[in-house]
Symmetry: C2
Subunit: 730 residues, 2 copies
């Protein structure tokens, strides 16, 4: 067990690191050359109003270092309404998670520190056992220090009740706020096409009819004059590949033409082989022009194929109505006698559609989901196995066997020790770096059709991984698989005891975890070291035009799949340790406050959200905090049963039942606002804005982005346009 001094040292180091990051940020952000990295929004605004006015000089005034916290004030002054209108509701709701954390944990911390720590210290069992009374052990501040069968455990139980009630109260208020913000957002932001549109899947294929005719016929019959038209969906995945290829060819062409312009004495040339490393040497400009021409011919053919081949029209359509009311009715009801056909759902925002997955045949969806849930289970519990395998391959004997020619190199002492010390760790690092990407890939295989849904699903998988491998994993030693084995072969009543005994022991580990991941990690977020380096590299190597520069900027967005689960882990830690080892709480408070400031700054100045889901992630936040409460109660139950305070069991079971009932009530009360659009609300909004010029908005809103990008440059194929079929010839 670490002592208080150890923690103090660790805190000092981490604070130092955080300050270093902030100082670096203060220096770098003032350099105008870094503006596209640290203030992309401001940069874009200026670049668009007065292009080429950005002076690329370097600011070396040392006094700016003293202003290294200056960014906090402007980050705080912007009101929430402004954030919503500038950055969208997703960002505003994301910030609300941090304020929720502060609202929950500030009073909890004060009460816990004032009541529990004196209580635990004064009633020392541990101090009786040891001689030295110099408070060297952090356990003295925790519940482990209280005598078995002490009446003081009722104080702990009372506080658990109090904290649970307080947390639930805050959760309720926040859910209420976010739900009404969502309704207000949907109502106020002009005419949002997704409210008029429904995505229909599993359109049945009838031999004599095209998909488009079938959709028209079905919705004309069932919705009459409310049906405006529909947008068919093409399987454009192959065409999209060609578009990407053409883009890279265009880039090469631009680059070479620019080169030629700068140095007209020498026509650029290249080799045709892989990466220009070998093959016949040709004239670059001619080469790229020819390649591009060939590709465009292929694209035209592919486009014709996509449009004419009935098989490339997917049994999916975006159906538009002239009233929000009709779209809400259509999305919420069962259309067909056969409930597996004509599946309707609210359409995601056009930017939010994940086009690739629309091509997945519906019958494979359920198989995919089963396979992926098995895969996630395997990944969470058995992830150590492949890593251990790679590690065993990567050791020296393995290397020698696989590649005998490396033997002389490996024999050298320095390289040997480097490989032995570094390679095994590297495998784990690479795995942890790849994990979110792997989870996202899994979510994509599951076949969700919107980016927001994909990110939410990835976040829940990642949370599961963290819960098992970080929270529980650090409690029971060994790999997750060993834990699973231990839990399966233990009586169910034994599990809370095991958890209850080990959690207080791990407080110091989590304190250092919070400081490293929460404090220094957040400070590195504001520094944006990776985007900074990448931007400057790109700027030096590839950027030729202003458009390229904009592309290289990559302002990024809130990384929901990674930040939400780690946030939820902090909530879990705070809730679980509140009554057990409250000394952990101030560390969490610092995290919430600091992260709130940093993300506020980033959202106002940097991030550019890819889509807007109107805070659709909030129900997940809510239910995971409730899960945290339940874990905390179960843990206290186990802990107290080892302290021979078994009388407490029914009290805590009642609390768990009450917590679950609260969750059920909230789900019933608020969740529909995030899943369905109430008819009353839809009709009221329809009345407020009658449907003038609706067609204009709907036309092409849901056409595949590759066709849109094509449209922007060349003549639009008539056939694609005509897909927005209009019922009464408008």
């Amino acid at each position: 067990m670490a002592t208080l001094q150890d923690i103090a040292v660790s805190a000092f180091i981490n604070i130092l690191i955080a300050f270093a990051f902030l100082l670096a940020f203060a220096l770098l952000r003032l350099q105008p050359i870094n503006e596209p990295v640290y203030f992309p929004k401001r940069y874009l605004n200026r670049a668009r109003t007065s292009p080429r006015s950005s002076a690329n000089f370097v600011n070396l005034n040392p006094w700016t270092c003293l202003t290294f916290l200056n960014w906090m004030r402007p980050a705080m002054v912007m009101s929430e309404a402004e954030i919503v209108s500038q950055a969208g509701l997703d960002s505003a709701a994301f910030l609300r998670i941090y304020t929720l954390g502060l609202k929950i944990f500030v009073p909890v911390t004060v009460i816990a520190l004032l009541i529990i720590i004196p209580l635990n210290v004064s009633n020392g069992t541990l101090s009786f056992l040891e001689r030295d009374l110099d408070m060297s052990n952090i356990d003295k501040l925790s519940i482990s220090n209280v005598c078995p069968q002490s009446i003081r455990f009722f104080v702990q139980i009372g506080l658990e009740y109090l904290f649970t009630i307080w947390t639930c109260l805050m959760l309720y208020k926040e859910y209420d706020n976010v739900a009404s913000m969502r309704l207000h957002f949907l109502a106020s932001h002009g005419r949002r096409v997704e409210l008029f549109t429904v995505v229909v899947r599993n359109v049945p294929r009838v031999p004599s009819q095209s998909i488009s005719d079938a959709v028209n016929h079905f919705f004309e019959t069932n919705y009459g004059e409310n049906y405006v038209g529909h947008q068919g969906v093409y399987n454009g995945n192959k065409f999209a590949k060609l578009v990407r290829k053409r883009e890279s060819l265009q880039n090469g062409l631009d680059h070479n033409q620019l080169k030629f312009k700068r140095h007209p004495e020498k026509r650029p040339s290249k080799k045709t082989g892989f990466c220009g490393l070998w093959g016949k040497r040709v004239d670059s400009i001619n080469y790229y022009k020819k390649e591009k021409r060939d590709l465009e011919e292929r694209m035209a053919k592919e486009r014709q194929k996509v449009i004419n081949d009935p098989k490339s029209i997917l049994p999916v359509a975006f159906v538009s109505f002239n009233l929000r009311w009709a779209a809400a009715v259509c999305a919420q009801t069962q259309q067909s006698k056969n409930p597996t056909l004509w599946l309707t759902d609210c359409a995601p925002e056009p930017r939010d559609v994940y086009w690739k997955n629309l091509a997945i045949p519906s019958f494979s969806l359920s198989i995919r989901r089963i396979v992926i849930s098995l895969a996630v289970f395997a990944l969470v519990f058995f992830y150590m196995i492949p890593i251990a395998f790679v590690q065993s391959l990567a050791n020296l004997d393995g290397l020698e066997k696989v590649a005998p020619f490396l033997r002389p190199v490996v024999k050298q002492k320095f390289i040997k020790s480097f490989l032995q010390g570094f390679l095994p760790g590297l495998a784990l690092k690479i795995f942890l770096y790849l994990l979110p990407k792997v989870l996202m890939l899994m979510s994509k295989i599951e076949g969700h059709i919107s980016l927001s849904m994909l990110e939410r699903r990835t976040a829940s998988k990642y949370y599961l991984f963290m819960l098992v491998n970080v929270f529980l994993g650090s409690i029971v030693t060994g790999t997750a698989f060993e834990q699973l084995h231990a839990f399966l072969h233990q009586a169910p009543t034994q599990i809370p005891r095991t958890v209850g005994v080990s959690i207080p022991m791990r407080a110091t580990f989590f304190i250092t975890y919070i400081m490293v991941d929460g404090w220094a990690g957040i400070a590195s977020e504001i520094l944006r070291l990776k985007p900074l380096i990448i931007f400057h590299l790109k700027n030096m190597l590839f950027v030729k035009t202003e458009r390229d520069k904009e592309k290289a900027m990559n302002p990024g967005s809130v990384d929901f799949p990674e930040t939400l689960p780690s946030l939820q882990l902090y909530f879990l830690l705070g809730i679980v340790y509140a009554v057990v080892t409250p000394i952990l709480l101030p560390f969490i408070l610092v995290f919430f406050a600091f992260a709130y400031l940093v993300y506020r700054h980033q959202i106002i100045n940097v991030y550019n959200q890819r889509y807007e889901s109107a805070a659709a992630f909030w129900p997940h936040i809510h239910s995971r905090i409730i899960t945290g409460l339940l874990i905390s109660q179960l843990h206290l139950l186990g802990l107290l049963s080892t302290k021979k305070a078994a009388i407490s069991t029914p009290l805590l079971v009642i609390l768990s039942i009450l917590t679950l009932s609260f969750h059920k009530y909230c789900k019933h009360r608020f969740e529909p606002a995030f899943r369905k659009y109430a008819l009353e609300e839809a009709l009221a909004n329809d009345m407020a804005e009658p449907d003038q010029e609706l067609d204009q908005d709907l036309r092409g809103a849901y056409s595949h982005p590759i066709f849109q990008s094509f449209k922007a440059e060349e003549s639009v194929p008539e056939e694609v346009e005509s897909l927005l079929v209009n019922v009464d010839g408008r």
Copy 2:
């Protein structure tokens, strides 16, 4: 363990009992005096066409005994379509459960008997241990006889796969059939008011508006011309009590007037006290007339109060539309921004409404549900505790203490032994007799608003009770509470082993159970001994008019809360024992075939269903058979792991996952047909029958039955009539 001979003896006795019942039935059903009990449908038809033609003579022809199976032929000839049109879809679907049982188990029995029994017998471990080879032990036929690690277990696993696939195939076809029968039934049976109606709960109370105005305003705004009107719901529970009281007074009056008419020399008189045993003697006719007059005054006052007091109008309404389409839309969508208000749902059939529960305030519903689920849990696992308590009170020492004056009686030897031998058993008998009533009461407290839902909920509670206390209870000895304790303190991986080892041992118990409960029990169902006795008692004592006689008949209906769970238990037994001890299967087959005949006869000739839910119970049947499959797989897994055939575990886990996937698919494919009314279907039916004279049907269809009964006899209060508010003054 019972030997084969024991089973043969038991079978002989039970067959004898069943034959005795059938003989008694053959004799009794031919007595015209019993016609109202055995053929109430025929009796009613005749009584209505030519009253007083039923000759009350006794048929004593002994040859009728030989025709004791004659009833089977007419029971078989009626087609399913006729049954649907005469007795409703519920009854037809109920019969389909038995044919499903036959379809599943006939091939399974043949294969199991042909393959598994020779396999088990030839590979005897038990026969090596014992000397005598005379096949006295039924275990020789079961899987217990196979050597550990034998390759033959793969045959068992193969058969488990085969049986699972076959069962799923049959389940799928049957679900498909029943779902399409339901759709056809709803579409074909003329204009069913419930398809045009939606029940709305949680109508918000606005101070300035009555509930009725609020409903009108809301639906006029949101559904425009599709809204026809609504029927408010009064809290008529108090009024209903008065109606019942008036009925009994009317009965007394009729009785005394009849008495006076027969013996005009003596005016009947009675005492006013309890049951006419003491008090002042008064003239009966005058007494009843006065009492009735007083009561009617009170009823008029109560009626005025109900109609005028705004508090007695409940925040519930039956809202009617002019199109099935609009009703389907309204039932399936969220109406209000606040999802706890204006909750809409498909209306139950008018006969099916359980009026009392409409008065339950909505906020108490979730509390009621939690309380009841805790109570069901307690009842299932701790039911032995109160019984043991009553039994301990009912023993002699307890009696002596509570009632010392009984001492001389108790001291007598005969009474003593009677009490000691009889009382403890009686407590359990009374409990088991009361159990379905208690479960029904619990379901009523849960607050469901339709009888069919109440019966379904009661059935699932009863099934849980049977599963724990009959199926598992006979496996692990001791009370259910002791089992729960054992399971909680065991490692989860140990549970399948415990179950796996004990199930084959209990085969003989279940064989006798099937014979007693399934064979003799079903034969007693056709005899209708209880209704027979009650009818003749009532006929002698109370029946004065033809209407009374009709009332005394009580044809009854299929008792879903009791028959469905026991049917599901038979499915479970058959599926679990199919690969383990297939000798049990023929007994189940006999049960299914015999019960099918008996219930077919009863449905055609006797039962009078109280409501029609259009086979809404089918999804439960389906999912419980799937549960049976899963239990069977889990059990085989445990059994084989004790036989050191651990290699089989993954094979059976895969089978379980496949079974679950099949269940999920079926749920997705068919269940919506039982919960929602597809818009396409609704609109097609609307087109087929345009809305002529719809108002006529809807008017008063959902008024409280007590107001209806009142209406039939006296002038209808205008206020009640006017509750069917009409939007455009039609």
